[in-house]
Symmetry: C2
Subunit: 135 residues, 2 copies
C-alpha cells in the first residue's frame, strides 16, 4: 500500500486512499482487470467505494501514463500496469487476457505516415487458452 503511494507519485498522481487502493490492486494482480473486477475486489474492504471513482481513477492513471488501457476486449475496457512493450493474448472463450512477452522489440516501432502521427502500438493475439481447450 505504501509502495502504491510512492508509485503514484512517480507519475505525478496525487495519492488518495482510493487511488492507492486501485493502484495496489493493479500492481499485485496482473490480470488486466476490467473496471468491474477492480470494483468487486476492493468494495468488500472499502464499502463506500463508488464505481464512478474506479472509472475516474483509471482514466486519470491512463492520462498520466501510469497504466495502459487495452482495446483487446470488445466487451469491457481492460487495464495493464505493465507499460513496457509487450503484446497480449485474448481467449475468446473465457475472456482472460495474458501477456505475450517474447516479441521482438522492433515490432513495437512506430510507423511513419503523412496521414497521421502514432503515439502507441497494440499487438493483440486471439484464440483459445488451454484451460478452455477441453470445453
Amino acid at each position: 500500500m505504501l509502495e502504491s503511494h510512492q508509485y503514484l507519485k512517480q507519475f505525478s498522481i496525487k495519492p488518495s486512499v482510493q487511488r492507492s487502493a486501485v493502484m495496489h490492486f493493479l500492481l499485485n494482480n496482473r490480470i488486466h482487470p476490467t473496471i468491474d473486477e477492480i470494483y468487486m475486489a476492493l468494495s468488500p474492504t472499502m464499502p463506500t467505494l463508488s464505481k464512478t471513482t474506479v472509472y475516474n481513477t483509471l482514466d486519470l492513471f491512463v492520462e498520466k501514463g501510469a497504466v495502459r488501457a487495452l482495446a483487446i476486449d470488445e466487451k469491457n475496457a481492460r487495464y495493464d500496469v505493465d507499460i513496457s512493450a509487450h503484446g497480449h493474448f485474448f481467449c475468446k472463450s473465457c475472456g482472460k487476457v495474458q501477456d505475450v512477452f517474447d516479441l521482438k522489440p522492433h515490432m513495437f516501432h512506430i510507423p511513419h505516415s503523412d496521414n497521421y502521427t502514432v503515439d502507441s502500438v497494440e499487438i493483440s493475439y486471439f484464440g483459445i487458452c488451454n484451460s478452455c481447450k477441453g470445453n
Copy 2:
C-alpha cells in the same frame, strides 16, 4: 451488386438481398464501418432494413471468414472486408480507422505458447490523424 452476390458464395454464404447489400457496401466503402454506419448508409434505399439484420449479417460474415471484426475501437465494433495481413491506425480524435499496409509479413506470424492457441493477430496503432491535427 452482382459481384457481392458472387463474393458471398465464395465464402459459402447464402446471398439474400440484405446480405448482398451489406457486402456491396463493405466492398465499395473501405472505411472499416461501424454497424450504425452500415445501417445508416443502406436504410435510405432499403427502408425496411432492420439494424438487427445488420448485426446478424456481420456476425455471419465474420463467422464465415468473409469479414474481419476489429477490436481497435472501444466504442463500436468495426468491420473490414480486407482479410489480408495488415494493420490499422485509429485516430483518437475523430475515431476514423485507416489501413496500415507497409508492415513486414513476419509481424503477423503466430506466436507459439504452451498456454494457448492463437488463430488471429491484430496490430493497432493509435494517435491523431492529420485532419484532426489542427484541432
